[in-house]
């Protein structure tokens, strides 16, 4: 067979094997992490520091983004609705959008960059510097010590951060409506309450839990797969952000299709 035929076939085969290999390793990691939950004595002391790093440290950037998102939402809603629809629908739009979509997704994407890249770089550095091997030598389960506390921290803290971000986004949109749109508080609150359903909050929490698991899980996966020194660490961080963001958007569509 000529080379120009064999080369694309070989490339396609390599890609397929690589993808399936990654999926397999991801499942192995997932199964190992689930199994490592039983080593609470190992991951327990690491949980609070990870909660602080992943959750508390992420609050400022999440609130910053939510603040400006709320402002922009309010202004764009008024720009869209003025003259045709009552202005109290600005409250409807800001509330619904922040709860159902922008709060969880923007926070998830932001934390995919901040938390996911951080985890990937940290674990990748540990991998290339053989600290992970050292843990194994010391009879520490690296999954229990490194992955489980981070994933649990992500699952616990992402909804908290998202709730705070949603609240701040709505409040900033409210403040914008009062200051820039000649709306009154009763008008905005009327719109906010008009189509509100408690399920909207639960929907945001469910999405953010899944986002937290994905961001931390992807970060841990690519971090532990890091090879070839500092270059590999950078590549792992980049891959983590890209893949986590893609999975977040896919999950966003999935939850919208299944839960709404």
């Amino acid at each position: 067979m000529p080379d120009f035929v064999m080369r694309p076939l070989a490339s396609a085969g390599r890609g397929t094997v690589k993808t399936l290999s990654s999926v397999g390793r991801a499942w192995i990691l997932f199964a190992g992490t689930a199994g490592a939950l039983r080593h609470a004595g190992i991951w327990g002391p690491q949980l609070v520091p990870q909660l602080a790093r992943i959750g508390v440290a992420s609050v400022p950037i999440a609130l910053f983004i939510a603040t400006f998102t709320g402002i922009v939402m309010s202004l764009q809603a008024s720009y869209t609705l003025t003259g045709t629809i009552p202005l109290y629908f600005v409250g409807v739009l800001v509330g619904k959008t922040m709860m159902l979509e922008l709060g969880p997704v923007l926070t998830g994407l932001t934390l995919a960059g901040r938390v996911g890249a951080n985890i990937s770089a940290e674990l990748g550095t540990m991998r290339v510097t053989e600290q992970v091997d050292a843990l194994e030598t010391l009879a520490y389960d690296p999954l229990a010590y490194l992955v489980v506390p981070r994933v649990i921290a992500g699952i616990v803290m992402f909804p908290i951060v998202v709730l705070l971000a949603m609240t701040v986004g709505i409040v900033s949109g409210w403040f914008t409506a009062l200051q820039l749109l000649d709306m009154s508080s009763p008008e905005f609150v009327k719109g906010l309450r008009l189509l509100f359903e408690p399920w909207d909050v639960w929907f945001a929490i469910i999405k953010s839990i899944s986002f937290g698991a994905v961001v931390t899980g992807v970060g841990c996966f690519y971090g532990l797969q890091t090879e070839r020194g500092a270059e590999g660490v950078g590549r792992s961080a980049t891959q983590t952000v890209v893949i986590a963001s893609m999975i977040i958007l896919c999950l966003d569509a999935f939850w919208a299709a299944t839960l709404l």
Binding site: V48, L163, L164, T167
Partner: protein, 328 residues
């Protein structure tokens, strides 16, 4: 350091959970409020949904808790929660209607007497308020669409009926109408002028009538005076005498007519004889006829007349020549 970190994490977690819980309760408009339940039944609820506002006299007093069709399918039950201090009217009913044009509906507690024309559903059960849903906006739209179609049909028929000739006829009719209008205006002007003149005449007549009335009043006053003086009886007596004279005159006239008839008959006989005489003259019969027919006789007669005149003249001048009287 670990202690501080734990506090921070705990603070963020508690804050996040608190924000979620408090925000949800606040947005549900259920923060710290006691509620009492109300139930209403209607044949339809339009687009009323759980969470919709319940209003009384335009003020939000609660929310719709549930909307459910009864198993038999003959009614929809609406459960509402309202403020406990709300005193609803004894004849309360629930009017379900759009709150605005954008899909949000409300249930308003009203006095049934104020909106008694609506077909409320009387559902059996204690405390179940009768309710009625106003037509959905989509129904109004459908009705408007039907009206639009009817208008389209009418328009098409009008286009069919309204040809060029119709337009021309209509134009002529309008022109004629204009002319008629002008003529009518002129007639009105003329009639107005006539009415003015008539009014003036009526005014003058009125004045004359007034004068006549005044004169009549004077006459009546005089008549009254005459009646009062007894002159009427005298007039009646004079009239009776006049009538008697008139009766006599009539009798005389009757007699005269009789005489006149007699004279007429005599004249008639005279004329007959005259006619016979004239016939005789024409026939040259008799002395006079012969006289007329024979000029010599006439001349002889003239001579005789002349001689008679001379004789008479002589007699007058010399009577004694011819007359001699002696008594003895």
């Amino acid at each position: 350091m670990d202690r501080r970190r734990e506090i921070m994490v705990g603070l963020v977690v508690v804050l996040g959970i608190a924000v979620g819980v408090v925000g949800t309760i606040w947005l549900q408009d259920g923060w710290g409020r006691d509620r009492v339940s109300l139930r209403a039944a209607s044949t339809s609820v339009g687009q009323l949904m759980e969470g919709a506002s319940v209003k009384f006299r335009g003020v939000a007093v609660g929310r719709v808790e549930s909307v459910a069709v009864v198993p038999s399918g003959e009614a929809v039950l609406i459960d509402m929660s309202v403020r406990p201090d709300l005193i609803i009217p004894s004849d309360a009913a629930v009017l379900i209607a759009p709150e605005s044009m954008f899909g949000d509906w409300q249930a308003e507690i009203i006095r049934r007497g104020d909106y008694d024309t609506h077909p409320y559903l009387e559902y059996p059960g204690e405390g179940v308020l009768p309710a009625v849903a106003l037509p959905d906006f989509s129904r109004l739209t459908a009705t408007a669409d039907e009206i639009a179609q009817n208008l389209t049909t009418i328009s098409e028929r009008f286009e069919v009926a309204f040809t060029e000739e119709t337009a021309q006829n209509l134009g002529r009719a309008i022109d004629n109408l204009g002319e008629v209008s002008d003529q009518f205006s002129e007639i009105i002007d003329q009639q107005a002028e006539r009415f003015d003149a008539l009014a003036e005449r009526v005014d003058a007549s009125t004045q004359e009538l007034g004068a006549a009335a005044r004169a009549a009043r004077v006459s009546f006053e005089r008549v009254d005076a005459i009646v009062a003086d007894g002159q009427v009886q005298k007039l009646f007596a004079d009239a009776g005498a006049g009538v008697e004279n008139l009766r006599r005159l009539t009798e005389n006239m009757d007699a005269s007519l009789t005489d006149l008839q007699t004279a007429a008959r005599q004249a008639d006989a005279t004329f007959s004889r005259l006619d016979a005489l004239l016939v005789a003259l024409q026939d040259e019969d008799g002395s006079l006829g012969r006289l007329l027919a024979d000029p010599s006789l006439a001349e002889g007669a003239l001579d005789a007349v002349a001689q008679m005149r001379d004789l008479l003249l002589d007699i007058q001048q010399n009577p004694r020549r011819y007359l001699s009287f002696s008594i003895f």
